[in-house]
Every structure is written in structure tokens, then in C-alpha cells.
């Protein structure tokens, strides 16, 4: 294995990041997050007949639902084109004819896109953080920062999956189809399937293992991370309320999320070698 040249990775990452800044992708996504987070913060309790800031727990609970739908989709759409797009356009050969390795190319692409996604996520939720800090003080900010950090990790995990799709696909259309399928699978179908099996088996399905099956879905890890950081919120969720306290350790869940970031990237690296 050849040595990594971080200068090459930084050059590639810098270009990816600047491209997203220049075409206002970061700005657009940040605006989407800002608008949605503010709307949800103020109107999240409307169904219960309340508007305005209620509590940090309810605010985060509302935002978790938003993030679970939105961030995976944005990350998948951001990354699915990264390699297959270069390959299909014909620019991949030119890049690989330069003194860069495939691993450097992959990491450069990933880090540049990850920086754009992270910046848009942090900036997008920043205004809400200021409001919550003014309302609930440091305790509120502490939980909200945890939520933002886990949102970033969720985005990075799905970005990693998107790059894997981009490496294994031979056509952009196929990669985009797979990205959408993956989003449906993780965000919509996975929990529904588990719940269905649980109900159909009269609560017997999976036994003790059921909680650990949730670790197979980064969206569920994100949910567990946020739900178990706030005691009052455990009762708000159905499926995740069965999670044993052992899985409530944020460091453990953070580690699981990091595994969801590194494992797809590692597989993508392996597949991209040939």
C-alpha cells in the first residue's frame, strides 16, 4: 500500500468544498435547516395546542424526526455522484493519470463533501441553538449541541454509504436509484418492518437481540443517541423505548455511528482498488 499524501487529499477536498460553496449548495441546505428547525421549534407542539418554545426535550424530539428524514436524503444526494459521475463523464481517467492514488481520491472527495455537509448542518441549526440558549441556558445548549453533533455524524454515515454506492455503480442513474432505495430502506422500511415483525410475533421476535438489530440502521442509532440523552423523551418513542440501558451510553452509540462512517468507506476503498 502506498503512503497517503495528505496534500493531495487536501487539494481534492478543497475543490469539492469550494464547488459546493460556489454553487450555493451549502447556503441552500443551511437555509432549509434553519427554516425547518425554526418552524418546528415554534410550531412543533401545535398538535398539543401549544406554540412557541416549550422544552428542550420536545424541541429535540421534534427535530429528530426532521433530521432523520432530511439529512440522510441530503447526504445520499450529495455523494452518490462523486465517483460514478467522474467515471461516466470520463474525467476519472484524467484524475487517476495524475500522481494520486485511488484512496487519496476517495478520501479527498469524501472529506470535501463531508466538510460542506457539516458546515451546512451546523450553520443551519445555529440560529435555533441561539434561541434555545437564550430560553433554556447552558443546559439547553448542551443537549442541543449533542443533537447537532449526532446530526453531523448521521450525515457523515449516509455520505459514506453514498460514496460506496458511487463506487459500485457503473451508471449515475443506477447510483441515484440505489441512493433513493437506501433512503427508503433505512428511513422508512427498516423500522416499519421491525415493528411489523414484533407485532406479528406477539412481541417475541428477536428477543433480547431486537435492540441490537437497531444498530444495523444509522438512523436508529441517531434516534437512540438523542432519545436516551434525555430521560423525558424515552416515553415519546415506541420502538426505541425497548432499547436496554446498555445501549443508552452515548459514547457507545457514537462509536456505532463512527463504525457506520468508516465501514462503508472501507468497503468503497476496497472496491475502488480494481
Amino acid at each position: 500500500m502506498q503512503n497517503l499524501e495528505w496534500r493531495q487529499i487536501a487539494t481534492l477536498a478543497g475543490k469539492e468544498f469550494r464547488d459546493r460553496m460556489r454553487n450555493r449548495w451549502v447556503l441552500a441546505v443551511a437555509l432549509v435547516f434553519t427554516v425547518f428547525s425554526l418552524v418546528i421549534t415554534y410550531f412543533g407542539g401545535a398538535q398539543q395546542g401549544q406554540v412557541g418554545l416549550r422544552s428542550i426535550e420536545f424541541t429535540i424530539a421534534s427535530l429528530v424526526s426532521l433530521v432523520i428524514y432530511l439529512i440522510p436524503l441530503i447526504a445520499l444526494l450529495l455523494g452518490f455522484d462523486a465517483i460514478v459521475g467522474e467515471r461516466e463523464r470520463g474525467s476519472l481517467d484524467l484524475l487517476l493519470s495524475l500522481p494520486i492514488t485511488r484512496l487519496e481520491l476517495l478520501l479527498g472527495k469524501y472529506l470535501g463533501l463531508a466538510a460542506a455537509l457539516t458546515l451546512s448542518t451546523v450553520v443551519g441549526f445555529a440560529l435555533d441553538a441561539v434561541l434555545l440558549f437564550r430560553q433554556f441556558g447552558m443546559a439547553g445548549l448542551y443537549h442541543y449541541v449533542g443533537f447537532m453533533l449526532s446530526s453531523v455524524l448521521l450525515g457523515l454515515a449516509f455520505l459514506s454509504l453514498a460514496l460506496l454506492l458511487s463506487v459500485v455503480s457503473h451508471e449515475r442513474t443506477r447510483a441515484s436509484g440505489l441512493a433513493i432505495a437506501l433512503w427508503f430502506g433505512f428511513v422508512l422500511v427498516f423500522d416499519l418492518l421491525l415493528l411489523g415483525l414484533l407485532v406479528a410475533s406477539g412481541g417475541e421476535f428477536g428477543g433480547q437481540m431486537l435492540a441490537y438489530i437497531l444498530l444495523l440502521n444509522p438512523a436508529d442509532i441517531f434516534r437512540i443517541l438523542n432519545v436516551f440523552s434525555l430521560d423525558q423523551m424515552r416515553s415519546l418513542y415506541g420502538l426505541t423505548s425497548i432499547v436496554p440501558p446498555a445501549l443508552a451510553n452515548p459514547w457507545l452509540m457514537g462509536g456505532a455511528m463512527v463504525a457506520w462512517i468508516t465501514a462503508p468507506l472501507a468497503i468503497a476503498t476496497w472496491r475502488f482498488r480494481t
Binding site: 496534500r7 474525467s91 481517467d93
Partner: protein, 311 residues
């Protein structure tokens, strides 16, 4: 494969020994033996699917050979030290795609960074390819010819020792093609080795030092155009214009020479004959004296050689 540390002779810029690339039962490249000398302008021609692009990609280390050994600038393309050698290799792909959102100067600077080339050289390179005035314009505003020029400038980053140019005259107008080949001549005189493919065989005919003709993944012939003419022994044609009263006499003289084929097209007598009887044909014209109005000798073109070899 042979040991990658085994250095090629110093005069050889590109060396291929027994190189094959198989995709299942398809032999895209099959047992290619080829050497390109340092400072040589070398053409690689072949029909679509002949294996040129695959061979190009293998010479650049983009795809691995199924068998054989490739050395470029004395380094095995499979070796870890080929990464350093890449800094001294320029490549212009056939279907050049650049980043539309970058300006010409930004494009060059991006590739210069990755290649480890001096970024200060970028404006001068734009000047060399005639794009100095549009260096700050976004690439998406460029015509195909301008993109090709920018691609060529990109290939010249870092003063390469070896240039691989795949259909480099794509999109260039005749004047730009002439300037482009003049540029290649200058580079060759500076010792740069150039491997070039083109579908426009007439462009290559008078410009390459040697060429290889590929078909079905194999090198069918290698040499200078002159050497290939000798090797293939294709007939040459001589177009003669004579006074109408002299045509019958001319035909009589020429039909006496064995191997000569005569045709009259628009009043012009076209003689096709094997190269060894060329002088005999010319000698047969002398009795006509001033009744011979005009004469053109057409050596087999590169296109003739290409199709002659295929048939």
C-alpha cells in the same frame, strides 16, 4: 511478469513486453511488443475496438495488464515508484471533460497542484496554447476547440518527459491543428516522447516518426510510413494527362509492362503498378515527349496502408 526494478535502456521511453488484457474470453489487447524511443513522435492507429484505448490506459497505469510488463520512463507502471514518474507524464484523454465551474486558470492550477507542478507556470501555458486572454473565463463558456487547447495545456504541466495524446486534434480547426503539430515538433526537439492516436490518418502521415497499426488487440505492423510502404508493398498510382491523340500509344506502351493496371477517369490515365516497376512506367512515357501534359505520382497513403493491412 518481469521484475519491476529492471530498468529499460536509457534510450527507450516506453516499452511493452508481451502485454495482454483479457476480459473473460475477449482479448482486448493480445501479446503486444512495442518500444518507443525517447524523443520520438509515435502514432498508434486502429479502428474502433482495435485495443488502442485499452493499451493507452495500460501504459498510463490506469488498468492492470493481464500479462506482460510495461515500462514508461524506465519505471514499471505496476510499481509503487510509478507515482513519482506520473509527475513527468502528460495525458490528454480522448473524451476530455473538464470542470465547467472553474476558469481556465483555476483548472490548470488545480491540476498543477495534484501533479506537483509549478503553479506559476500556468499563465505561461495558457499563453502557449492561445488561451491567455480567456484565462479567467469559466470553462463552460469554452468551445470544444478551446477546451481541447486547455486539455493540452494541462497535459504540458510539469514539463513532461512523455506525452500520451488520445485524439488530440478533436474539435480543432485546420489552423489550430497545424499550430498544434508545430508545438509537438518543438516538444519532440526538446526530447519529449509523444505517443499519439488520431482517427485523421492524414494528420499523422507526414508528422509521426513511426507508428503502429493495431487490429483485434494486436500490433499488425510497426515502423515509419516509408518503411510500412516498403513492407506492405502496396501499389502506387500515377495519374497521367496526355494529348488525346497520344492516349492509344500511351496505353500500348504501358500494357506491355507486367503488373500494370490502367484506368481512364475523366480523360486522365490512372496507372496502378507495383513499386518495383515504377521506373519502367516512367521510362515508357519518354517516347511521348511534349504530348505528356501532366503527371502525378501518388504513394500509398497511411489510409491505404491501414486498409491494405486490414484486407
Amino acid at each position: 511478469m518481469t521484475n519491476s526494478s529492471k530498468a529499460a535502456p536509457s534510450t527507450v521511453a516506453v516499452a511493452l513486453h508481451g502485454v495482454s488484457k483479457h476480459y473473460g474470453n475477449v482479448h482486448a489487447v493480445d501479446g503486444v511488443e512495442l518500444t518507443v524511443q525517447r524523443g520520438e513522435l509515435f502514432g498508434l492507429i486502429g479502428h474502433n475496438g482495435a485495443g488502442k484505448s485499452t493499451l493507452f490506459k495500460m501504459m498510463l497505469g490506469l488498468i492492470a495488464a493481464t500479462a506482460g510488463e510495461i515500462q514508461v520512463a524506465g519505471t514499471s507502471v505496476r510499481g509503487s515508484d510509478f507515482r513519482v514518474t506520473r509527475r513527468k507524464i502528460g495525458y490528454l484523454p480522448e473524451n476530455l471533460v473538464l470542470y465547467d465551474n472553474l476558469s481556465a486558470l483555476e483548472t490548470l492550477r488545480f491540476f498543477a497542484k495534484l501533479k506537483g507542478a509549478d503553479q506559476a507556470s500556468c499563465p505561461a501555458l495558457l499563453e502557449q496554447v492561445g488561451l491567455a486572454d480567456v484565462g479567467k473565463r469559466a470553462v463552460h463558456e469554452f468551445s470544444k476547440g478551446m477546451r481541447q487547447r486547455l486539455g493540452f495545456a494541462q497535459a504540458l504541466l510539469g514539463k513532461p518527459d512523455v506525452l500520451f495524446l488520445d485524439e488530440p486534434s478533436n474539435g480543432l480547426d485546420p489552423m489550430a491543428i497545424r499550430e498544434f503539430y508545430a508545438h509537438l515538433r518543438d516538444l519532440r526537439e526538446q526530447g519529449v516522447t509523444i505517443v499519439i492516436t488520431s482517427h485523421i490518418l492524414a494528420d499523422l502521415q507526414e508528422r509521426v516518426d513511426r507508428l503502429a497499426i493495431m487490429a483485434s488487440g494486436k500490433i499488425q505492423a510497426v515502423g515509419s510510413v516509408h518503411a510500412l510502404r516498403e513492407q506492405l508493398d502496396l501499389p502506387l498510382s500515377i495519374a497521367l494527362r496526355v494529348e488525346p491523340s497520344a492516349q492509344a500509344e500511351l496505353k500500348a506502351h504501358l500494357q506491355a509492362i507486367s503488373g500494370v493496371d490502367l484506368q481512364v477517369v475523366d480523360g486522365e490515365v490512372v496507372v496502378r503498378c507495383p513499386r518495383p516497376v515504377k521506373m519502367a512506367v516512367l521510362a515508357a512515357l519518354s517516347p511521348l515527349g511534349a504530348r505528356l501534359i501532366d503527371l502525378h505520382i501518388h504513394e500509398p497513403s497511411l489510409e491505404d496502408l491501414f486498409f491494405g493491412l486490414r484486407s
